[in-house]
C-alpha cells in the first residue's frame, strides 16, 4: 500500500484512512506492507498491529513546487519499494495506491513486477479546485487520469466521487467500486462528566447546536448563521461553530450585526478530544454543506450519537437518510431553522435519530466492514488477474541460462 502520509505524519484525510484500513486488513489476516514518507522521530521501519510500515526519505532539498517535490519523493519511494518487492514478490498480490501523489512510483512498480494495481481516489484536482484553471492543475489532473487508466479497479468513497472521477478523469463506472470511509467508534466511548463538560461552553440548561468544519463557502456555514435568529425565536439555544477558514471574519461580523453574539461561540480550531466530547454533549449537529464528496463529519456525529440536521449534499445523502438517521433540509435559512427546531423540541424524535444513526454507523462504517469490502475487491482483482494473460508467464523454450 502506497501513501504519502501515515501517522505520525498527518496532513489530510489519507493518513487516518490508510492507518485504519491497513490495520483492519491485517486483523483479517492480510499481509500489509505500507510504504510512506518519513517523519521526524518516526522509525524507518516498524510493525504496527501487524502492518509493516516502511518510511522513506521524502526528499528534503528545495524543489520549485509541490508537484516537483512529489516526483522526487516518488523516486525514493519506488527505489525502496523495489527492494522490498524483489524480496517478497511471491507474497504480494496487489499494489494499492492512494491518490495521484504516489502514481509515478506505483505505476512503474506495477509493470516491473507485473502486479495488478488498485487505486483509491480520495479526491480529484477538478473537485478540489472547482475546475482546472492552469497547466499546473492540468498536469495533476493528467496524472490522476493516468492512474485511473493504469489501475485495475478504482475505489471511491461515494457515488458522488464516482461521478466526479467519471466526469473529470474519464474513469469508466464499471471499473469503480464504492467503499465509504470508515470510523473508529471507540474514542467516542470514553467515560466523562457530560454536565461538567457542557458548562465549559454553556452555563445553563440551554440546548446546544454544533457545527464542525472549515469556515468556507462550500460547507454552507453562512446559511447556518442566517438560520440562527429563526431558531432563537422558538427555542432557547446556543450555537458553537468550530473550525477556521477565510469566512471567519465575515461570519463574526454577521453574527454581531444580527445581535446574536451572546448566543454564538466561534472558538476556532479545537483539539480532537474536545471535538469528540462536544459531539457527544450537544443536542444537535448541523452539517449544511453545499459541496461534499463524502462527509466524515457525519460519521463522527453518528459515532457520538448526536442527532443530525443536514442538507444531504453529495456523499452526505448516501451516508444519511432523511427521517431515519438525520433530518434533511434545503440549503436555506428557513428550512434549516425548521429542521433544527424540530430536533430540539421533540426529544423522542431526536432519540430515534441518534439510535438509528448509531446502529448504521456501527453496521456499515466500522473499519472492519470497510476492510471486508476492500478485501472483496482485492479477491476480485486477484481472480481476474489469474484468469488473464497479463502476468508472468512461464518461459516457453529458453536457450539462455537465466534462472
Amino acid at each position: 500500500m502506497f501513501s504519502w502520509e501515515f501517522p505520525p505524519r498527518i496532513i489530510g484525510g489519507i493518513a487516518p484512512h490508510v492507518y485504519e484500513l491497513s490495520r483492519a486488513l491485517a486483523r483479517k489476516g492480510v499481509l500489509v506492507f505500507v510504504v510512506t514518507c518519513d517523519f521526524p522521530g518516526a522509525p524507518d521501519y516498524e510493525v504496527i498491529d501487524g502492518v509493516r510500515v516502511y518510511r522513506v526519505d521524502s526528499y528534503r532539498f528545495p524543489t520549485p513546487d509541490f508537484a516537483t517535490w512529489t516526483s522526487m519523493m516518488n523516486v525514493n519511494m519506488q527505489i525502496k519499494a523495489t527492494e522490498i518487492l524483489a524480496n517478497v514478490r511471491d507474497k504480494i498480490h496487489i499494489l494499492h495506491a492512494h491518490d495521484w501523489l504516489v502514481a509515478n512510483a506505483a505505476i512503474g512498480l506495477k509493470h516491473l513486477f507485473r502486479l495488478p494495481l488498485l487505486a483509491t481516489i480520495h479526491s480529484t484536482e477538478y473537485g478540489r479546485r472547482k475546475g482546472i484553471h492552469d497547466d499546473y492543475q492540468r498536469m495533476i489532473a493528467s496524472t490522476e487520469a493516468w492512474l485511473v487508466k493504469e489501475a485495475w479497479r478504482i475505489i471511491c468513497c461515494s457515488k458522488y466521487m464516482i461521478q466526479e472521477v467519471n466526469k473529470a478523469l474519464h474513469g469508466p463506472e464499471d471499473k469503480m467500486d464504492i467503499i465509504p470511509n470508515g470510523i473508529n467508534t471507540r474514542p467516542f466511548q470514553t467515560t466523562y462528566d457530560k454536565d461538567a463538560f457542557r458548562t465549559r461552553f454553556v452555563r445553563d440548561s440551554k440546548k446546544i447546536v454544533l457545527y464542525v468544519g472549515r469556515l468556507v463557502h462550500e460547507k454552507g456555514v453562512s446559511i447556518l448563521v442566517e438560520s440562527i435568529p429563526k431558531v432563537l425565536q422558538k427555542v432557547n439555544a446556543e450555537f458553537i461553530i468550530v473550525g477556521e477558514g477565510y469566512m471567519k471574519d465575515e461570519l463574526t461580523q454577521r453574527v454581531n450585526q444580527m445581535g446574536i453574539s451572546n448566543k454564538v461561540q466561534m472558538p476556532g480550531f479545537l483539539d480532537t478530544e474536545t471535538v469528540r466530547l462536544l459531539f457527544r454533549s450537544v443536542d444537535v449537529c448541523v452539517i449544511p454543506s453545499l459541496y461534499e464528496p463524502f462527509g466524515i463529519v457525519a460519521l463522527e456525529a453518528m459515532a457520538a450519537k448526536t442527532a443530525i440536521v443536514t442538507t444531504g449534499t453529495g456523499g452526505l445523502g448516501e451516508i444519511l437518510q432523511h427521517n431515519k438517521t438525520a433530518v434533511f433540509a434545503s440549503p436555506t435559512a428557513g428550512s434549516l431553522a425548521a429542521a433544527i427546531c424540530r430536533v430540539l423540541k421533540d426529544e423522542s424524535y431526536a432519540d430515534s435519530l441518534r439510535k438509528l444513526a448509531y446502529e448504521r454507523v456501527i453496521s456499515i462504517f466500522r473499519w472492519d466492514a470497510i476492510a471486508a469490502s476492500t478485501l472483496r475487491v482485492y479477491k476480485r482483482i486477484i481472480k481476474e488477474y489469474g484468469g488473464g494473460s497479463w502476468k508472468i508467464q512461464p518461459i516457453k523454450s529458453s536457450s539462455d541460462n537465466h534462472a
Binding site: P64, T68, Q78, I79, L112, R114, D135, M139, S142, W146
Partner: protein, 205 residues
C-alpha cells in the same frame, strides 16, 4: 559472447536535441552488429516500435502525462512508462537483458529499478553535468537534477564519460571513486572499450 543490451536515452534521431542523439545512434548501430540492442527512448507522438534489423529495435514512448511544469516532472512520469516498456520486453520477449546502458539523468531511476527488480547490471553514461550546464546550479530545479544524477552515480555499476574533464568532474561533484568512472575517448578502440566495460560489469555480477 553475444549480449542483449537495453539503451535508455531521451534523445535518439529523429529527436535530436544535442550531439548525444548522434552518439547514441552510432553506439546502437555499431553494437547491434554483434549484439542484440533495444533502444528505449521518447517522442511526442503515439507509441512506436521500429525494427531496424534483426538485432536493433527502437521503442519510442510518449509521456503519459501532459502538460508538464518542468523537465523533472516530465522525465519522472516518462520514467514509469520507460519501466513499462522494458518490463514488457523482458517478460514477453527476451526474458533477458545482460546490461542496461543509460544515458544522462532523465531515466536513471528506470535503470535503478530495473537493476533492483531483475538484477540487470547498469552502466551510466554521462555526457555533461547539471552543475556545469546550469547558469544557477543552486536553483531548486537544478538541485533536483543533481539529485537524480547522484542516484545514478551511486546505483550504477560503472560510469562512462566521453572526456577526461568530465571524468574528474563526475568524481568530484558526485564523490565517486576514480576506479568507478571510465573515460572512453573517440578512437578506433571506442566500441571495444565500451563492450569491455559492459563485460567487466557483467562479470562482477
Amino acid at each position: 559472447m553475444r549480449l542483449t543490451i537495453a539503451i535508455l536515452t531521451w534523445e535518439y534521431p529523429p529527436r535530436i536535441v544535442g550531439d548525444m542523439a548522434y552518439y547514441v545512434e552510432k553506439l546502437a548501430q555499431e553494437l547491434s552488429k554483434e549484439n542484440d540492442v533495444r533502444v528505449i527512448t521518447c517522442h511526442d507522438a503515439p507509441y512506436l516500435h521500429e525494427k531496424v534489423s534483426n538485432s536493433l529495435e527502437i521503442y519510442r514512448v510518449p509521456n503519459p502525462v501532459k502538460p508538464h511544469v518542468n523537465v523533472v516532472t516530465w522525465a519522472l512520469s516518462l520514467t514509469s512508462e520507460i519501466q513499462r516498456i522494458v518490463a514488457d520486453i523482458y517478460y514477453d520477449k527476451s526474458r533477458k537483458f545482460d546490461i542496461i546502458d543509460d544515458h544522462e539523468w532523465q531515466f536513471v531511476t528506470a535503470a535503478t529499478a530495473l537493476k533492483r527488480a531483475f538484477g540487470i547490471p547498469f552502466v551510466l553514461t554521462f555526457h555533461s553535468l547539471e552543475s556545469k550546464r546550469s547558469s544557477d546550479p543552486s536553483a531548486p530545479l537544478s538541485t533536483c537534477i543533481k539529485g537524480l544524477e547522484r542516484v545514478g552515480a551511486y546505483e550504477s555499476d560503472k560510469i562512462i564519460t566521453r572526456s577526461k574533464l568530465l571524468k574528474s568532474e563526475v568524481e568530484s561533484v558526485h564523490q565517486v571513486p576514480p576506479s568507478k568512472v571510465r573515460y572512453i575517448p573517440e578512437s578506433t578502440s571506442w566500441l571495444g572499450e565500451t563492450l569491455d566495460t559492459y563485460n567487466q560489469v557483467i562479470a562482477h555480477q
